[in-house]
């Protein structure tokens, strides 16, 4: 009952003119960014974050969250029309979405992806509404050792599960942690790795790094991959031909519901996220469908299942972010950094300390989902036009927007240099298959991790045993080790098997 009252108060915030406008800008920006191949939600949130500087924190985060789930909706557009996913979470949508477009059913595919995304997103927000506060209450007793162990687990699962090699994921994360130590040590006041540059005394801002790794690196990739204009399937889109028929619904609804619950659960796990959720949801739909032979050739439920799952996962990812203060993905890591920039510290206490913000954000997700379904069904033809923008114009304009955004952060050219450097590093990392998400996540969490570690050692008078004698801390650290060791062993076994054959 209390939750409902708080949610109603949240709606009072989310339905204010300023919040509605922020949500609308966020979801439109998200759909556009999601529709552009290569530019995913993490890039979108990072690139547009500087535009929220100086704004009210609640409206700023409402806008950024709108970009996140808007991009999940938009990712399907390019998957269906040009067989190129807008982001990795939309990869599975290509498999049946593009064949449907070639059969002249692009409208139905886009309509089903929109409605499946809406269902997945909305049901997940309802679960989130009741689950997140309970989880926050349950972890209120966490002390520094448990927080340290939780962050280590979050970092190692993201590093171990993202990318092809757990070693590269861990190395990326450790470089992020090393970067987080740059700046004046808050306990002793001693500068660390500053090379005499006063700009580095306050540390390296995560957003300057994220803009380079997610923004510039993706632009280089986009420019290198495509020349001229993206070639899309010519389609006539109207409200009427986007509405799936009764038969489509009959085939899809069980997969939408399964995808929703699956996606939400997977979204809550660090390192998993929308991509894995959509893969699992698609393969389960294929296994359980009565017409499995149609999968890959244009089964409408092959679009519905991954789309409901990736949207549900994007909402699920907010649970650890808000309730525990530990993000589990690249986008939520950027969002955590954004929250901290606005002096909001996510974690169990945020539900008590900033209820207006938390419930305003949750209510805005309901509003945003309704906005998205209306926008997609009514203005899909306009969003599809985004794919007609020539790549060179897109790359040039987003590139200078990133540089201007980086400058705006601290009003300094030094930050622009860091962004450019990390753009080049990020692209090399991409080519060498080092995942950038663990680096950004570690950079965001690094300070908190070190503080929790030091506080724990002060509690134990310098003894490391504190991490192993408290049961929850021990379990979390064991999971952290397993998250790296198990994928490494699997990789080794796979390599041995391929050598022997």
């Amino acid at each position: 009952m209390e939750t409902l009252e708080l949610l109603i108060n949240g709606f009072a915030v989310a339905l204010q003119g300023q919040s509605l406008l922020a949500c609308l800008i966020g979801v439109i920006g998200g759909v556009i960014i999601g529709a552009l191949p290569g530019l995913g939600p993490s890039t979108g949130v990072a690139v547009l974050l500087p535009l929220t500087f100086g704004r009210n924190p609640t409206t700023a985060i409402i806008m950024l969250a709108g970009i996140y789930y808007g991009a999940m909706f938009g990712g399907a557009i390019s998957s269906i029309l040009i067989n190129t996913p807008g982001d990795s979470a939309a990869v599975m949508t290509c498999v049946d979405g593009y064949p449907l477009a070639q059969q002249g059913r692009a409208g139905a595919a886009l309509g089903m992806s929109t409605l499946a995304s809406f269902t997945g997103g909305t049901i997940s927000v309802i679960i989130f509404t009741f689950l997140a506060p309970k989880l926050a209450e349950a972890v209120l007793w966490f002390g520094p050792p448990e927080y340290f162990a939780l962050m280590v687990m979050g970092l190692s699962t993201v590093s171990g599960l993202t990318g092809k090699s757990p070693f590269k994921g861990m190395a990326s994360m450790l470089v992020g942690l090393a970067l987080s130590t740059v700046g004046v040590d808050l306990v002793t006041g001693k500068p660390r790795f500053c090379f005499g540059r006063p700009e580095l005394f306050s540390g390296i801002e995560f957003i300057t790094v994220a803009l380079g790794l997610f923004g510039i690196a993706e632009l280089i990739n986009l420019a290198a991959g495509e020349s001229g204009q993206l070639k899309r399937t010519e389609v006539k889109l109207s409200f009427r031909n986007m509405l799936p028929n009764k038969e489509d619904w009959g085939h899809s609804w069980p997969h939408i519901l399964r995808g929703t619950f699956l996606g939400f659960l997977i979204g809550m796990l660090p390192g998993a996220g929308g991509t894995i959720a959509s893969f699992i949801s698609y393969s389960m739909a294929k296994q359980r469908s009565k017409r499995a032979e149609l999968f890959g050739k244009g089964a409408i439920e092959g679009v519905a299942a991954p789309e409901s799952a990736n949207n549900a996962a994007s909402v699920g990812a907010f649970v650890p972010l808000l309730a525990l203060g530990v993000p589990g993905s690249a986008t939520t890591a950027v969002l955590l950094g954004a929250l901290m920039m606005f002096n909001l510290r996510p974690g169990p206490l945020i539900f008590q300390q900033a209820p207006e913000f938390v419930w305003g954000l949750i209510a805005s997700m309901y509003v945003g989902n309704v906005m998205l379904v209306a926008l997609m069904l009514l203005f899909i033809a306009a969003f599809v036009r985004v794919l007609d923008i020539p790549v060179h114009l897109l790359v040039a304009s987003v590139f200078v927007l990133i540089l201007a955004g980086s400058f705006s952060l601290n009003v300094g050219i030094f930050e622009v240099g860091i962004t450019v450097a990390f753009g080049a590093i990020g692209y090399v990392m991409k080519r060498l298959e080092y995942p950038p998400a663990p680096l950004v996540l570690a950079l965001v969490l690094g300070h908190m991790l070190e503080n929790s570690f030091r506080q724990s050692l002060i509690m134990s008078r310098g003894s490391m045993s504190i991490f192993f004698t408290r049961p929850l801390s021990l379990i979390l650290l064991a999971v952290a080790v397993a998250a790296v060791v198990i994928p490494a062993i699997r990789n080794y076994q796979r390599a041995s098997a391929s050598r022997s054959t």
């Binding site: 660390r192 114009l393 201007a404 622009v416």
Partner: protein
């Protein structure tokens, strides 16, 4: 891929050794029996050494061949140079002018027409002026033209 991964692992090893040496020699590993400013960086570097060695070991079974094609290398060079030129030009012409000129040049270099490049320069200048300087109140470094 194999050579690139091996080089990256060696770079990580060198970075880790630098961090370790600096942590112990310059920052201080312990302070009054508790972790000092060099404690965390030291252990981060130790783990980095372990995983860099893991990458080296893993690299043995990677396929050969370059990680770059001519086109990817060209795009990397164009965008990185564009970033550096933006910074240098901003010192003389102001950031707004610098961003607008670089945007125009990028359109040309990435395969756009001269007409598109010429239209891009004032469009970026005006849009960024309105967005950053008017709406977001960010003060960009000014050039000889007063903006």
């Amino acid at each position: 891929m194999k050579r690139g991964t091996q080089i990256s692992a060696v770079v990580l090893l060198l970075l880790a050794i630098y961090i370790m040496v600096t942590s112990i020699k310059k920052l201080g590993y312990k302070l009054n029996g508790l972790p000092g400013p060099g404690y965390a960086p030291f252990w981060i570097a130790v783990f980095l050494v372990i995983f860099a060695l893991g990458i080296l070991w893993e690299a043995k079974r990677l396929p050969g061949g370059s990680i770059f094609t001519r086109r990817t290398l060209k795009m990397l060079a164009i965008l990185t140079t564009a970033g550096i030129i933006t910074i240098l030009l901003a010192l003389f012409l102001g950031l707004l002018t610098s961003l607008a000129l670089v945007a125009g040049a990028l359109v040309l270099l990435l395969g756009g027409s001269l007409k598109q490049a010429v239209v891009t320069v004032p469009t970026v200048g005006i849009c960024f002026y309105l967005l950053f300087q008017r709406l977001l109140m960010v003060s960009f470094p000014k050039g000889p033209f007063g903006f």
